[in-house]
């Protein structure tokens, strides 16, 4: 049971609680203005009034009662005390330990699970009133007993618990290294906000041992990234279907699935998931379950919870051998967005800060303001001359950039900026960090940036918007 001092209440209230030897989770009696209430004292959420006691009534409702002059709080001594106090001996909001003891079926294919936090590993946080990201992997797996029929999760690695917006390339390195150590297919649970950045990073950092850093990457096994848009403590959570389908991908022997991809809902229905290439995927909606969409190509596969898999990509036999993590990464890369009225001197700041590469997300085919009052051309030329690599992507998200169609594009191209075909901005940013981590030679950087290593550039622009 939590002490009053850790409860989030105001000092005045903490003193009153300590004085009455009242702890969080205890059944209390509150008397105020002729009204008497009994219920369990809950911790104070950060939002709202810290002088307000939160009581969980027997009906299950929480109410806030402001502690004012004349308010009395004491331990309750009604008959329910025993039952409810016994229940609250478990730490509030945590699953009973006995629930978590389950065994995997050793006859099922082995899979490693790396849990990194995010909504999928979240549940109610009584302190902040928001969502709590420190759920143990066993807790969210507990909610999906079907997994035991599909996989044998031999190890659960939990290198950190982070919201994905708090991650950076150091975290990608940890995930890549952890993944490469697994001899089994890997499922990685992750927050969704920057899941596609991590997917791209793993696509570049992981490859078969026999391959070089600047050659097309292949993997011996599937590396499946999975998240959730609804936390696992909700009856309507999408986590279960996503995990089940991710497991189906992980244990499948289909060779096309041996790559890094994101496996999440294909539609708003709990029907099937898409397994989408790690370099052609983007979060396209703030809240929908089917937020991850393949951009400019079909998903690698569609997967149903019963194990049916429809593959959209042909691929030769899987290579055997080990997977390695090549995590050299230059952090001095950035994304800038060019838009009407945008400030080109931002480039100057990045040059001064020692950046080695910038991805500019241009308009349309990959334009920047060229003859505008605030033209970007001079700043870009200066930056390139000082040794920076400048790659151009498009903020249209869909479609290929082009360095020639319009005069302004050619001017930009002549400065030395490189239009990166149909590579997604986020992917280009991650790839540039990876490439600059290996070489600083401009021509080599340019060559590798334009060469698809992990499907990040499509060969042809085909007709599909999914």
């Amino acid at each position: 049971m939590a002490k009053a001092k850790d409860s989030g209440y105001s000092e005045r209230l903490v003193r009153a609680l300590s004085h009455g030897r009242i702890e969080i989770g205890q059944r209390v009696r509150i008397e105020k203005a002729g009204c008497v209430l009994e219920g369990i004292l809950m911790p104070r959420i950060e939002a709202g009034d810290r002088d307000c006691l939160i009581i969980k009534l027997d009906s299950g409702y929480n109410v806030g009662i402001r502690f004012e002059a004349g308010t009395k709080i004491s331990k309750a001594l009604t008959p329910e005390v025993k039952r409810i106090e016994a229940e609250s001996k478990i730490e509030l909001g945590k699953i009973k330990e006995s629930f978590l003891k389950f065994e995997w079926d050793p006859t099922k294919p082995k899979v490693s699970l790396i849990a990194t936090g995010g909504t999928i590993a979240s549940r109610v946080d009584y302190k902040t009133g928001g969502v709590y990201m420190l759920m143990r992997p066993e807790e969210f797996l507990y909610n999906v007993p079907e997994l035991r029929e599909i996989v044998n999760i031999t190890e659960i690695i939990n290198p950190f618990n982070k919201a994905s917006e708090d991650m950076d390339s150091d975290d990608w390195k940890v995930i890549a290294k952890t993944t490469s150590k697994s001899k089994n297919p890997v499922i990685i649970t992750h927050g969704t906000d920057t899941l596609h950045f991590t997917a791209a990073a793993l696509s570049f950092m992981l490859r078969s041992k026999s391959e070089k850093w600047d050659e097309t990457h292949t993997l011996p096994l599937p590396v499946v990234l999975v998240g959730a848009q609804r936390s696992s403590d909700r009856g309507s959570s999408d986590a279960a279907l996503n995990l089940i389908c991710a497991s189906r991908i992980a244990v499948s022997k289909i060779s096309a699935l041996a790559q890094v991809g994101i496996c999440m809902h294909a539609s708003e229905s709990d029907e099937k998931c898409y397994f989408i290439r790690g370099t052609r995927v983007r979060k396209m909606h703030t809240s929908r379950r089917d937020t991850f969409r393949p951009i400019g190509e079909l998903p690698i596969a569609e997967v149903w919870p019963d194990g049916k898999i429809l593959v959209h990509e042909e691929k030769g036999e899987r290579k055997g051998g080990a997977m390695i993590a090549d995590t050299k990464f230059d952090k001095k890369v950035a994304i800038l967005k060019a838009y009407p009225g945008s400030e080109p001197r931002m480039l100057r700041f990045l040059v001064k800060e020692g950046y080695n590469g910038i991805i500019i997300e241009g308009t349309g085919f990959g334009h920047v303001p060229t003859f505008a009052k605030k033209s970007w051309i001079d700043e870009i030329s200066r930056a390139i001359k000082s040794g920076l690599f400048i790659g151009i992507t498009s903020q249209t998200i869909y479609g290929r950039t082009n360095p020639y169609v319009y005069r302004n594009l050619r001017i930009l191209n002549e400065c030395g900026a490189v239009h990166l075909e149909d590579m997604l901005t986020e992917v280009a940013y991650v790839k540039l960090g990876y490439v600059l981590g290996h070489t600083k030679k401009f021509e080599k950087v340019k060559e590798v940036m334009l060469k698809p290593l992990a499907g990040e550039i499509t060969r042809c622009s085909r007709q599909f918007l999914v």
Partner: protein, 455 residues
């Protein structure tokens, strides 16, 4: 005559009134509250999963829905938004709805919390896409919160503001279809304490609370816009929650029937003398291989099974009428139906009607049973459904010699009720983390108190 009976029965009864509010838009989004007259533009299929309660346990009613393993289909209308389809977090609470709820709380002399906490009430029957209903306690009953009736005072327990559930369209073979236009309409709930002493008083309270709500001028009118739940128990019986009584005139009948049902169950318990053994379930599909009963024959033909349980000493009791129009056999059939099957057949029925006489003869022989003592109950269905249903029926039969079970029932149009699910526990509530608590300003409350309608 009934009055005299109720005079000696120690009955406990409280009611809850649910009234839809006419306040422009839904409780947590800006969609209209009117039901759509257009065709659905899309359907969404979902499943619900079991969740942990705030205190670490699982709510029995919630676990039950998972056991049933149903799938839910939602009809999306042009007026439906992502909040309703659980594809977007809720928007801030509809202030007009909150104001009406606070006014009603003040009219009932309730205490209003200094901070209102929006809660999630776990609901896994699919009637809410999120897996929970958002609800908030806006008024806590005091000694001065009561309704005067001709049979004495009935105290108000609490007043809540909550979301209406999605409307059920149909239920077929494990798939329940709901329409999303009803989901999220603001609903005010007034609950009374168990002070009601007779069925007629229950009706009077419902009527008076209805008047009180209408006096705000902000309630919807018409069929389905107001409904009552009745919590009722008789001495020695159990608390039963009867949901969804839409006709005021039915309240009395339902209360009378429930009292009769619980009393009759207590009589049966007494008759059984504390022991009742149930054998099985047995897979008796083979016994019915050559049945003349078309219904069972076609079930077996399509891969279904016949499962049976034997209740020792129950012969004759299955046709006992628990209340007018409801035998114990029908009551047990409701448990089977709640688990997804069409019904059951038992030996107290006219087996000739089903052409099943010979098949049951064989069963008595095979299991060496006494026709004058042992009742047999069978269910013919798809295996998974049959297994779930026969287990539910067997557990219910076992309880006959022990107690009247606490449960949630739903009102039928003839004034009887049927089993729907176990009674939910307190663990089905946890805080709505997508919205902060609502701090109630005292000055605002004082101003509101001056604007109350005459009640």
């Amino acid at each position: 005559m009934l009055k005299a009976v109720f005079g000696v029965i120690n009955m406990k009864c409280g009611i809850e009134i649910h009234q839809r509010l006419a306040v422009g838009h839904k409780l947590f989004c800006n969609c209209p509250c009117e039901l759509s007259e257009q065709k659905p533009t899309q359907t969404i299929k979902r499943r619900m999963r079991v969740t942990m309660g705030e205190l670490g346990g699982i709510d029995p009613a919630a676990a039950y829905e998972i056991i049933r393993g149903r799938e839910y289909k939602y009809l999306v209308f042009p007026e439906t938004c992502f909040v309703e389809s659980d594809d977007e977090p809720p928007r801030p609470v509809n202030n007009d709805a909150l104001e009406v709820a606070l006014k009603v709380a003040l009219m009932c002399n309730c205490n209003i919390p200094d901070e209102i906490h929006i809660m999630r009430k776990t609901v896994l029957d699919g009637s809410n896409t999120s897996g929970f209903q958002r609800t908030m306690l806006v008024g806590i009953g005091t000694e001065n919160s009561y309704i005067d009736t001709s049979e004495g005072k009935v105290r108000i327990k609490d007043i809540n503001l909550e979301e209406e559930s999605a409307g059920i369209v149909e239920e077929t073979d494990g798939l329940v279809t709901y329409r999303l236009d009803r989901l999220g309409i603001p609903l005010i709930e007034i609950g009374t304490k168990a002070d009601i002493k007779s069925p007629s008083q229950a009706k009077e309270v419902a009527l008076k609370l209805g008047w009180l709500l209408r006096s705000t001028g902000k309630v919807m009118r018409g069929i389905g816009t107001i409904r009552q739940d009745i919590n009722i128990s008789v001495e020695g019986g159990a608390r039963v929650e009867i949901k969804g009584v839409q006709e005021l005139d039915l309240i009395e009948d339902i209360a009378k029937n429930e009292i009769a049902r619980q009393q009759k169950l207590l009589d049966i318990k007494k008759f059984l003398g504390g022991s009742l053994s149930v054998l099985g379930p047995y897979d008796v599909t083979e016994n019915f291989a050559g049945t003349k009963c078309k219904l069972i024959g076609s079930t077996i033909k399509s891969g279904g099974v016949v499962l049976a349980v034997v209740a020792k000493g129950l012969v004759g009791l299955l046709k006992t009428e628990l209340c007018p129009g409801k035998t114990l056999g029908r009551e047990l059939a409701d448990y089977a139906k709640a688990h997804g099957c069409k019904g059951l057949i038992h030996t107290d029925e006219d087996l000739e009607k089903y052409s099943l006489v010979e098949d049951f003869e064989k069963l008595y022989e095979k299991y060496n049973l006494n026709k004058l003592y042992d009742a047999i109950i069978i269910i013919a269905e798809r295996r998974d459904v049959a297994e779930r249903a026969i287990k539910a029926v067997a557990s219910r039969i076992k309880l006959l010699s022990e107690r009247v079970p606490e449960e949630t029932r739903v009102a039928n149009l003839d004034g009887t009720t049927r089993y729907t699910r176990p009674l939910p526990g307190g663990e089905r509530m946890y805080p709505e983390t997508d919205l902060p608590p609502i701090v109630i300003d005292k000055d605002y409350l004082h101003a509101l108190a001056r604007k109350l309608p005459e009640s």
